[in-house]
Symmetry: C2
Subunit: 164 residues, 2 copies
């Protein structure tokens, strides 16, 4: 189901390429936050009843490439937040880098019209393609900021927020 | 200075109205996070060497309306992160609601072409109008998520992230 383009859309607020760069800029910062954690604390440290940062990062990995795969035209996959190989910081950073390449490759297959179509992301969350992608990015900023607090409470200086 | 519209922009990823709704959805969630804090902890509680949530919220207030005012065509103002009247949770919630109305009113004066022009936000940060607004939103998500950790560490359940 697609919504009709209106007069308002003739000059775009942001292009597809800019949205990709915006997300990859955030993903580059998230990578630096992962790298800033000591190995043990990455997997074990948390505040309140929250998850360790490694578990949040697995959620981000579970969303990004599978989410874009579905947008490109694949079937909706179930959200799998536990990733077998994600058992060390080095492995997670390597999964992160692979996802960076996969996102770039898949993104090229998203037509401009596709952003305004409606999908059921992961078979459960209805929204337009653009709002789904914004959710992926916002959710990453949200969890990464929680990683910032973990680092601060461990006495570790996190990378500056504006460094992408 | 404006960049030229390209073929890619003929179908917009997101319209101006959608971007406003997206931001106001986030602002509505941030309001709920402010409301969830006990008065004393809102102004005094923090983790590590971080600021209390009230100070972060003052930063968000200092960015939103002054930032959009400049985009609409006003002069760049200096970033003033201390707001005299922001001395109680009730006053801050009332400043928040006033900002909500101000943003809606000012937004109507932003032309579509304006999003692609370059500004020096607050006299110091160079970028396109769209990237400046994205920064305002991302910065709000970032600090609000830190408020989530404060609430969790106080044993208070924050509002769900997807509730806008």
């Amino acid at each position: 189901m697609s919504t009709t383009a209106t007069e308002e859309q003739i000059v775009s607020v942001i292009t597809s390429t800019e949205l990709l760069q915006h997300w990859q800029g955030h993903r580059s910062l998230t990578r630096k936050v992962i790298a800033a954690f000591p190995e043990k604390e990455f997997f074990e440290y948390s505040i309140g009843t929250m998850r360790p940062f490694a578990a949040m990062v697995q959620e981000l990995l579970a969303i990004a490439v599978p989410g874009i795969k579905q947008i490109v035209g694949g079937e909706a996959e179930e959200l799998k937040e536990h990733i077998e190989e994600a058992n060390s910081k080095a492995n997670i950073l390597s999964l992160w880098d692979k996802a960076t390449d996969d996102i770039n490759r898949l993104w090229a297959q998203i037509s401009n019209e596709r952003f305004r179509e409606t999908i059921l992301a992961f078979g459960q969350y209805e929204g337009t393609v653009w709002s789904s992608i914004f959710y992926f990015i916002d959710n990453e900023i949200h969890h990464r900021a929680q990683g910032y607090v973990y680092l601060r409470s461990l006495g570790i200086e996190p990378p500056p927020f504006w460094e992408r």
